[in-house]
Amino acid sequence: MNAEVNGILVAAHDLRTPLCLMRQLALSMDFEKDSGAELEDTRSELVATSERALRQVDDLARLAELEKATILLEPVSLRAVCDEVEHELTPLFSFNHKQLLTHYPSRTPLVSAHREILRTVIYQFCLGAANYTGENSLSTLSILTHRGKIRVAVRDFGPSLPLGIWKALKTGWLERPLSLSLRPGSSGLGLYIASRYSLAMHAQIGAVRHRDGSTFYVDLAPSLQRSLFE
């Protein structure tokens, strides 16, 4: 019962933040004094915030499906998935006066994964970097090879990951959401979703602690299918 209640509280916390922001955005709209451009900016921000919240809800709902179904893995272009996530989150990074840089090798191998699930994992890592790092900070999204696996890593320059979380991630997955106490407003739900999704894909997530931030990564199996372009 405790775990169930805890899960509900965590989900409630993570959904509260965007709703709080949307409320303030709506209240701040002054149709008499604001210019058309200002109203349009506020409207765009409202839409973007609500879409991020809806995405979080969808990711949560899909967790339940993952428990029941077998996930079919296929060759996925990791570069394409990373580009999509970068494209989607660049406005959020810009709004928060932050930057997301990408480091890809010249030839990125295919990986054996589920495209949507993989996208969610990388999205959650990048979203953490967008939300929980200092202003003007630079985060990097990298693809590299590590011990025969293909690693996607997101390095951020925010509060260092608490030791307890790092230890929990060493197992490769989280049993339950863990609050990231130094990252305000974070219930750890994103990391929990990323860990469960990775488990479903037989991938492994992990983290590296730095003095000035953290690196979150997911290790994927390369696809044995030959690329058409070789």
Binding site: L19, Q24, T49, F95, G134, P159, L182, P184, G185
Partner: protein
């Protein structure tokens, strides 16, 4: 100067927008509490600080401990913007030590309340300056 120290930049910008409608004071936003303290050290004491309870790498009370440790910053009005952080672990006496002008819940605060607080604070600050002069 009005200083807004919040981890949530989007909300900070909304509060700034509301303040700008009624005051010509310079309004600065900092989402890093450590650099905010450094900024206060070098600049004139702000007339008002909006402070979010949960900050990057720390919380509002660590920030307030640092702020109130300086004699000239003891009287700077601070509005605490509380999110989900529970304040139950603090007794009324302990809260009083932080000399907070108000504790507002982020999910309930309205633009009118923000403007009212800014207006009152700027008015009180002008009266204080007139007395000392």
């Amino acid at each position: 100067m009005i200083l807004i120290v919040m981890s949530d930049l989007a909300l900070a910008k909304i509060i700034r927008k509301n303040c700008q409608k009624i005051t010509s004071e310079l309004i600065c936003i900092d989402n890093d509490p450590f650099s905010a303290i450094e900024f206060i050290d070098f600049a004139k004491p702000p007339k008002l600080i909006f402070l979010q309870a949960l900050l990057i790498g720390t919380n509002a009370f660590s920030f307030l401990d640092e702020l109130r440790s300086h004699a000239e910053l003891l009287s700077v009005p601070v509005i605490l913007l509380n999110d989900l952080m529970s304040l139950k672990h603090l007794t009324p006496v302990e809260l009083a030590d932080y000399n907070l002008s108000a504790i507002l819940n982020l999910d309930q605060i309205t633009p009118d309340e923000i403007r009212k607080i800014v207006r009152e604070t700027c008015r009180n600050s002008r009266k204080k300056h007139q007395k000392t002069a």
